[in-house]
Symmetry: C2
Subunit: 207 residues, 2 copies
């Protein structure tokens, strides 16, 4: 039997609903356990278009140190806890939307987690404005990637105007209108192209 | 100044998250006031992939008669209340997902509302399995329409295998992978093709 694949999505208020929830939806269809983790201290997270959603976890549920860091500044000793997170999950996902994307970028817990997942070669995926978090963490240097126009600098990267770009363990995508391509790219990376094609067919995408 | 356009989405538990929330997202981007109305008696509605969302309204908030009808059977006198709903909104939207779609189909409040909106020539939109609700209400006869494969009979209809089909006041679409096309078709019908194109560009859809 295949081992259960587990992904975690980190979310601040102002997340883009279609980007976040299409990814959760399609990953769960593919059998990937997908936890939505609120970074706000509240279980209910607020979308950028007024849709409020229950997160599966609060950050304090998975990280004692992080739970104490209301400012998002990483204190000494926290990195051990982050290692527990990167051991538990096969990768992390960041949806776009504002102020979510800039809140994620300015939240040192998140940029440290991006670095930690990346160091282990585990999947780091971001869509729309959220690739700016990956840029801040320094994991896009020399990589093929994309984003919402203007949200990352093309310097030191191979910037592509494609709906979803996979380079090794990094997946980036462009906006709410590329949510399905983003989700399918993650499914393809984790579960293989055949599973991604199966999901695409079942949801009537390009069929 | 343009008059505010208002849409209502009716939802039972087991709704397909991407289909429902992409429509709400894109309609609100277009400036359409969009109310998500729970038919379950609870404000929190549960998606078919485990995502729980706050509805904006419960049915009892907009319909006294409906609020008393837990079985979904329409009692005498309720149609006057339904008329108040069809006066207040420019149309209704039904997302797919199970058991949501069959719960909507078997909920006489919903089939009566479909008939009432249709009689006024107001927009009735359904995606994935939810066109079966429109079929039950009898508003698809002779119409160009689509659905998730096998969810409606092609008899007495012009069944098309297209991502989104508009025929007069009826819009139908196929599945979670056509959520953006469905939402843009609704925006196009309500706000014009230029607005739909503008939204499509902003979300990086086919751009």
């Amino acid at each position: 039997m295949d081992q259960l694949i587990k992904m975690i999505m980190f979310v601040h208020d102002g997340f883009e609903e279609a980007e976040a929830l299409t990814a959760v939806d399609l990953l769960r269809r593919a059998g990937v356990k997908t936890d939505v983790c609120s970074m706000t201290g509240n279980t209910v997270i607020k979308g950028s278009h007024g849709i409020s959603v229950f997160a599966d976890l609060e950050f304090s549920d998975i990280c004692d140190a992080g739970g104490k860091m209301e400012s998002g500044a990483v204190e000494e000793g926290a990195l051990a806890d982050f290692s527990a997170i990167t051991d538990s999950y096969d990768g992390m996902i960041l949806p776009g939307g504002q102020p979510n994307s800039f809140s994620l970028r300015d939240d040192e817990r998140i940029t440290e987690l991006v670095k930690a997942f990346d160091r282990k070669g585990k999947l780091v995926a971001a869509i729309c404005a959220a690739p700016c978090v990956l840029e801040r963490a320094g994991v896009l240097d020399g990589k093929r990637c994309t984003s919402y126009p203007g949200m990352i600098s093309p310097d030191n990267k191979i910037y592509l105007e494609e709906t979803a770009v996979t380079d090794g363990n990094i997946i980036t995508s462009r906006g709410a209108g590329t949510s399905v391509e983003f989700a399918l790219a993650i499914v393809g990376k984790l579960c293989g192209a055949a599973k991604a094609d199966q999901i695409a067919t079942r949801i009537m995408f390009r069929s």
